[in-house]
């Protein structure tokens, strides 16, 4: 599969396309699905997925891809902030380039694809084989990484306070998961829904790392961005196991994440504190995962994944609503209220101050 989907930019509205999905012949359905998949309207992708789920078989476009393998491209921005002029340095199947940032991005994209495919049968961010693009060497000493709506962008860090942002596979998983969240729940990036959005990225970012290392919940370190702070071994940006303890640095200050609703931070900075208050749902996931036991992506992660895809979850969902959604997902997966799994999820939210 080369480049973007060869989608026909229809002027047909999403609901007409959906009818073609349901009633058209094989070729018509394929084209309609591809158009729906690349449609910028997030609602149409959710609706498409809902239709597919209701229908049964998940793959109605076998000619495009079977699913199961990523299609990766890594591009080098050459220290500019202009991705449009970036150079392709590695495409799917190419050998390592020797440039750490490029190779870490390539491997991290693969590890993220691998978690979503192996654990949840999700074929890339859009569940339709979307090409994974990572841009490295963005900017000059740029202390950040982000998802821009279609691809991941990584800075090199300034070298004194921060290392390169590809250094930690959970960062890559975190960024890609923003794409998944955008397609599924579209959680608004502000205040509580924004903190949920952030938390979901930390959850699956951590699961990417755990899955790659084959770690069970009690073996994982539950740290996000370990190794990102320069010359600070053992420190990380966030801890899901112990929010507020990840870093304590003479220049960067101290980790300010809360682990409980009573310490929720009201602020106008950081889009209403989305990277701070994510500590609360992060900790809930950690508690659920360790109390359920085993590999965290199998049950706890599946519950969270299904909650994210629940059609009733609104973009403006508060913590409490999401918590209820995870309980509903637990039951829909077949774990009744007497099960270890249900009790673990229920208790996890209670422990962070959300008694349901």
């Amino acid at each position: 599969m080369t480049g973007h989907h060869h989608a026909i930019r229809c002027i047909l509205p999403p609901d007409v396309l959906e009818r073609v999905v349901l009633h058209g012949d094989e070729e018509e359905r394929e084209r309609a699905l591809r158009t729906l998949a690349t449609d910028q309207s997030l609602r149409s992708v959710r609706a498409q997925n809902a239709i597919l789920q209701a229908q049964g078989p998940r793959r109605l476009n076998p000619h495009v891809t079977e699913g199961g393998t990523p299609v990766r491209t890594v591009l080098d921005c050459g220290h500019t902030q202009d991705p449009a002029r970036a150079r392709i340095v590695r495409t799917e199947g190419d050998p390592a380039t020797g440039d750490s940032a490029a190779d870490e991005a390539y491997d991290g994209l693969g590890a993220t694809y691998g978690l979503f495919w192996n654990a949840y049968e999700r074929d890339s961010i859009d569940d339709n084989g979307l090409q994974l693009k990572g841009y490295v060497h963005y900017g000059d000493g740029y202390d950040n990484a982000f998802w821009d709506g279609q691809e991941m962008i990584f800075g090199d860090g300034d070298g004194r306070l921060f290392n390169r942002f590809t250094i930690s596979v959970d960062v890559i998983g975190h960024e890609l998961t923003h794409g998944v969240t955008e397609v599924e729940a579209s959680l608004v990036y502000y205040r509580q829904p924004g903190a949920l959005n952030e938390s979901v990225s930390d959850v699956f970012g951590s699961l990417v790392k755990q899955h790659a290392l084959g770690q069970e919940a009690d073996e994982a370190d539950w740290l996000i961005g370990a190794g990102l702070i320069a010359d600070a071994p053992g420190q990380a940006l966030r801890s899901m196991k112990a929010p507020g303890t990840a870093y304590d640095h003479p220049l960067l200050g101290k980790d300010g994440q809360p682990a409980h609703m009573r310490d929720y931070v009201q602020t106008t900075a950081d889009n209403g504190g989305v990277h701070t208050n994510s500590g609360i749902p992060n900790h809930a996931f950690y508690l659920a995962a360790v109390n359920i036991g085993g590999y965290a992506w199998e049950r706890a992660g599946r519950i969270w994944y299904d909650a994210l895809r629940d059609q009733r979850l609104q973009p403006t969902a508060q913590f409490r609503t999401f918590a209820r959604t995870t309980l509903r997902a637990t039951q829909r997966l077949g774990f009744d209220t007497a099960s270890t799994e249900y009790k673990a999820v229920h208790e996890a939210w209670a422990q962070v101050g959300l008694k349901l």
């Binding site: 202390d143 950040n144 990484a145 982000f146 998802w147 821009d148 709506g149 300034d158 004194r160 306070l161 921060f162 942002f165 960062v171 975190h174 960024e175 923003h178 608004v188 990036y189 502000y190 924004g194 959005n197 990225s201 961005g225 990102l228 940006l237 966030r238 220049l251 960067l252 200050g253 106008t268 900075a269 950081d270 889009n271 989305v274 990277h275 701070t276």
Partner: protein, 105 residues
């Protein structure tokens, strides 16, 4: 430069993947003349009117920085709250300069 009002700038850059806040405060009357001159030049190149008119609420995009900036000079006052994606090239030059000042040596 003499006779011109000093420029006061307060910047907070928050968010980003690390979710940390960086603050910078500048009073050009307390800087060496060439430093003060550089800042004045950078400020002069920014079209604050256009930025204020163009931005409704700040853009809120995953893991991008949020900039809260107040620039005062004499009777002029500009207050902006912007997402990283809304930053123009001229504003970015000013912001990068301020961030570098805020960074410990």
């Amino acid at each position: 430069m003499t006779g011109e009002d000093p420029i006061h700038i307060d910047l907070e850059r928050s968010g980003g993947f690390a979710g940390m806040s960086l603050r910078a405060s500048v009073d050009t009357s307390r800087l060496p003349p060439d430093e003060a001159g550089t800042i004045a030049e950078l400020v002069d190149r920014v079209d604050f009117g256009a930025l204020a008119a163009g931005a409704g609420a700040p853009a809120r995009a995953p893991d991008r920085f949020q900039y809260d900036l107040v620039v005062r000079r004499g009777k002029e006052r500009h207050a902006l709250s912007l997402g990283e994606s809304q930053v123009t090239p001229e504003l970015r030059s000013l912001l990068d300069h301020l961030v570098a000042l805020a960074r410990p040596r």
